[in-house]
Structure formats: structure tokens, C-alpha cells
Amino acid sequence: MKIDEKSNYSEQLQPNPAKIGQQMDLNEVEAFSPWKDTWRQLRKNRFATTGAMVILFFILLGLLAPFITAYPYAEQNLVERLKPPSAEHWLGTDHLGRDIFTRIAYGARISLQVGFFAVTGALVFGTLLGVIAGYFGRWIDMIISRIFDILLAFPSILLAISVVAILGASLQNALIAIAIINIPIFGRLVRSRVISLREEEYIMAARAQGMKNGRILFHHILPNSIAPIIVQSTLGFGTAILEAAALGFLGLGAQPPTPEWGKMLAESRDFIQLAPWTLIAPGISIMLVVLGFNLIGDGLRDALDPKMKN
């Protein structure tokens, strides 16, 4: 077919409904998108599915907390203090007679929220900075990379402590601190990915098509860096929850009577010999959630790695 004039082009190409309908039958081969492929890989991975079940369990626990628990999480009952697990109190009670199961369930809400918001914050800012540094290079990269270096050189807990010290001790500020700690982790990951993608021929081809920088960045480079970002996010979820627990334990995060797991550990540590269940429940909860996210993260990494595909 010959093309005559640029202006006539759209006229020539009016849709022909009859033709299109007929062609649909030819479309037998199902196009496997990279995402569908990843999903299949992930479902085959037993560790990842186990991790997902654990996380799902805690999500449901958090969501259904008001319906499955018999007590308000802050209600004290000094008569019933430090009771071992029983039919009334499935996981026992703490030193103020609060039901531990109730507090774990409400605590799941907090921990998952902390993980989500801290990771989202770190992800958004880290990715943005990383993309800018990697794509534009030169002095912009210099400045951003040095900021990352400084942030990474700081012990993360110390950094969090200083942030909390400036902003005051609360769960929200702990969350901000955790997000800041995690920015350079995402930033460096994205930056290195962008630098290698920048040299890809399809990026050069996109430029040769006259595409603008913004479009190349967000439509070609970013979608191709999404795999490591997803993996890091799931792994970061676990780390963020741990860090929130650590800050809570140090008294720099959630304040009483918030049923934050780290805080629960800290409050119960005096009773470790007298009533070990007060520590075991939040401890195991933290461990399970972090483990769950790590299992999903590892599974995702394998599923998204083109070299592992068969």
C-alpha cells in the first residue's frame, strides 16, 4: 500500500467494522503479558504463598479486630492481671489486666499501617530522587547521591531518634523517621537501575522518535524498573515494621495505651519470668509478619527475574 500525503492519512484509514470483526477470530494466541507471567510464577512458589497467607491472616485480624475480640484494647482489669492464656483470655492478660489477643489484633492494624505508609513514603521520594539522579546524571546525580551516602552513613536508629527528638515522640513521627531512613535504599536501587536502562537501545530508540524526557522517564524507564522496586517494597515492609517496633520499644514511637507490638514488648519486659506469654505473643507476631513479607519479597524477586523463567 502506498502512502501519498501526510494530510490524507487519517482519511484513508477509516475503521472497517466488518474487517475487524473477522480478524478477531484470528487472534487465538493469547498474549502473555509480563505481569500475568509473574503472577503464575508467584503462585507456584510455596514459600511465597505461605508468606502471603500469613500476611493475609494478619490483615484480616486487623480488619476484623472489633468483631472478633471481646474487650476494648485499652480496658484495664487489675483483678485479672498477668493471667495465663485461658478460654476468656486466649493469649492471657498483661500487667494491667488487658486482653493480649485484643491488643495483638488492634496492633496488627498499627504495624501494617506503619509498614504501608513508611514504605510508601520512602518509595515515592526514593524513586523520584533515584530516577532524577540516574537519568540526568552529572551534578544532579552528585548532589543526590551524596545525600543518600550521608543518610546511609548514619546508624538508622540514631537517625530515627534524632527525627523523633526534633518532632516529638509519637507514632506518626516514628513513621516519618522510618520513611526517611528508607529513602536512600529505594533511591540507590532505582538510580542504579535507571543508569543501566538509560543505555538500553529502546531508550535510545524512544529518543530517536522525538520523545520528551518526562515521557521516556515515566513511560519507559520507570515501568522497567518496577520489578526491583516491588521486591524492595515488600522487603522494606518487614524492615519498617521492625524499626517501628524498635522505636516503640525505646519509647520513641507509639505512646500508651496504643497497642503497638514493640511497645507491648517494652512494657512486658519486667515480667519475663513471671508471665512470659506477655512477651511471646507480640514477639511472635512481629516475627511472623516480617517473615511473611520477606517470603513474598523473595518469591517476587524470583518471579520477576527473567533469568529464572522457564
Binding site: 484509514l13 480478524q23 530508540a205 524512544a206 530517536a208 522497567n224
Partner: protein
């Protein structure tokens, strides 16, 4: 000639590396007429790809920089053009296809998605219209089942098919100039022939000028009207395809042609030009090819030869065609052509 699409004049693209300045493109001049197919031939590292990237203003910078010369595209100097103007031209009036069809497409998006995007960058059309245009383009470049292929991902296509998609993408806005950087190198021979035929067809039907960059003289013979031979960043010979292949003038071009395998001759060993492409640096004295040249004489190591214009319009960068040398030198004497320095 009035109907020039592209005209390079003394283009200099240098790379500023830690090991010094490298003149990757050293005062290169040539032109491409409307609807003409011009080939740039040379070994790896001779500056042909950098030349094409210079035209697109896509030389990686740093370390690369165009430090002199002009690139006239339809009368407009691209070296002076603003980045905004270049974005309008790229893909619209000048298109480019690359060597590796396997990596030239974004693996995450369907063929249709990428084709539509290419169309919609420069044309104000709806997604639906773009899709219809895309299907039509795929049909034009000879892709079977275009309506199905359009929803497939790059990894589902063969190399030849992907190169056809790349060509479709490049032709989407009917450019006046198509730069093809080794478009067939990564493909096997039967597919190569198909792709070359397709390019020839598009060239004839749409009157698109093609600048073909290759190291393969067979590809040149198939497609090109005129040929520019490059060596170590310089143009060493220019002429029509017939002249270059039948009567090469520069010893380097002669060597290139001698090193082509011939089916008719049962030679034991294939000829190869001794030595390798020299390392480039500024301020080199003498002809760049002299160390590998069988005909080299003292002057070749002392001065850099100019491009000598021969009577039939062919030019060669070699002292053999200098008047002074013609008197005394045996080979120069035989070729009784008038020459003048440029």
C-alpha cells in the same frame, strides 16, 4: 545540488575521555539527496555510528561533543537547532532504526502500544485512529496477521519481525530521512535480504531518503545509490555505488573489496587488511591508513592527505591522486586522472 535532504559539512564530533580527546568524527562531509540511498561503510570503530548519532543530536554527552561543522537538514543547521526543535524533527522528519531489533523495543508494552505511541508523539490522532494506522503500518512492512501481532509483546516475535516493527515505527510519520544503523547485522542472511528489499520498497514508494550505515559491502551493493567509505573517523572515499565497487580508488576501499568472499574463486585463504583500526587521537601526523597500507610511501607518514576529487566525481583521500605524486609514483601515473586538492 538543490534537492538535498541532508548535507554534512566538516562535521567534527570529539569524545573527551580520561585518556584524552578522541576525534571520532573528523571533518566528515557528504550529502544525501531526496529519495536517495547513501551508504556509510567502514570497520567497527571508524565513526559511522557516531556520525549517525550526531545527525540525530543524540551523541552521549558527556563525553561526546560536536565541536565543529554543520549538519544541514533541508536547509536547517541541526548543530544549532534547539533541543525542542530536535524533538520535533526526530521521529517525524528524521527517523532512525537500530542494529539490535531484540533490544530496540520496550519489553513491557505490546507492539501496538509502542507503535501508537510513536504515531501520537507527532500526530494529533485519537488512540483508535492510531491503532488503525498502526495495523496499516504493520501490513505495509509485510507482517502477517497484523491485527493479532499488534497485541503481542516483543518477546513473542522473531528478530526479523521485530526489525519490521522498528521499520514500521520509523516510517510511521513518513520521514524525509531514515537513518538505518546496521539494520541487518543481527539478522540471518535470508531475513537480511527481506529487510533490505522492504527498505528499498519503502524508499521507492515514499521517496524517503535512506542513510544506511553498514560494514557489509553486500548490503551496499543491494541498496545504495552512493557510498561514503570511512576510516578512523574520516571520509576516505566517496562515489557512486558502481564506482566504489567496480573501481575503488583508495587502497582501503580496495582492501575492503578484496576481502569479500567470492563464491566463484576457490582461494584457500580470504584476504584481510593487515593490522587493526588505529587508536584515535588528536594531532596525528600522516595518513591514518598509512601503517596498514601496501602502497604507502614516505609522504603518507608525514602529511595528512586531503580529499582529492577525481574526474568522474569520485573522491579519495590518498596522495596517489595528488598531481605531484602522479608524476613519479608508478601507480599514481597509471591512473591518468586529473585531480585537485579540496
Amino acid at each position: 545540488m538543490p534537492d538535498m535532504v541532508l548535507r554534512l559539512k566538516d562535521l567534527q564530533t570529539h569524545f573527551f575521555t580520561d585518556h584524552g580527546e578522541v576525534p571520532a568524527v573528523d571533518r566528515v562531509s557528504f550529502s544525501v539527496g531526496k529519495g536517495e540511498v547513501v551508504g556509510i561503510v567502514g570497520e567497527s570503530g571508524c565513526g559511522k555510528s557516531v556520525t549517525s548519532l550526531s545527525i540525530m543530536q543524540l551523541v552521549p554527552s558527556p563525553p561526546g561533543k560536536i565541536i565543529g561543522g554543520e549538519i544541514q537538514f533541508k536547509g536547517e543547521d541541526l548543530v544549532q537547532a534547539s533541543p525542542k526543535r530536535m524533538k520535533q524533527l526526530r521521529g517525524n522528519e528524521i527517523a532512525m532504526i537500530f542494529q539490535e531489533p531484540m533490544t530496540s523495543l520496550n519489553p513491557l508494552f505490546t507492539i501496538g502500544n509502542q507503535l501508537q505511541e510513536a504515531i501520537r508523539i507527532h500526530r494529533k490522532v485519537t488512540k483508535k485512529q492510531a491503532r488503525i494506522q498502526a495495523i496499516d503500518l504493520l501490513n505495509q512492512v509485510g507482517i502477517p496477521r497484523a491485527e493479532a501481532i499488534i497485541d503481542e509483546y516483543p518477546h513473542q516475535l522473531s528478530g526479523g519481525m521485530r526489525q519490521r516493527v522498528m521499520i514500521a515505527m520509523a516510517m510511521s510519520c513518513h520521514p524525509d530521512l531514515l537513518i538505518a544503523d546496521e539494520p541487518t547485522t543481527a539478522l540471518d542472511v535470508t531475513i537480511q535480504a527481506q529487510i533490505l528489499r522492504l527498505m528499498k520498497q519503502l524508499n521507492e514508494e515514499n521517496n524517503t531518503a535512506i542513510l544506511l550505515i553498514t560494514h557489509d559491502l553486500g548490503v551496499v551493493a543491494e541498496l545504495c545509490d552512493r557510498v561514503v567509505v570511512m576510516y578512523a573517523g574520516q571520509v576516505v572515499e566517496r562515489g557512486t555505488m558502481r564506482e566504489i565497487l567496480k573501481q575503488p580508488k583508495h587502497p582501503y576501499t580496495k582492501g575492503l573489496i578484496r576481502s569479500l568472499p567470492k563464491l566463484s574463486e576457490r582461494e584457500q585463504k580470504l584476504y584481510s587488511i593487515p593490522g587493526t583500526v588505529p587508536r584515535l587521537g588528536v594531532g596525528q601526523v600522516g595518513c591514518r591508513f598509512a601503517p596498514r597500507c601496501e602502497m604507502a610511501f614516505t609522504r603518507c607518514f608525514q602529511e595528512n592527505p586531503a580529499l582529492y576529487e577525481l574526474e568522474n566525481g569520485q573522491t579519495a583521500r590518498c596522495f596517489l591522486y595528488d598531481e605531484i605524486e602522479r608524476e613519479g609514483h608508478p601507480d599514481g601515473g597509471k591512473t591518468s586522472i586529473g585531480s585537485k586538492g579540496t
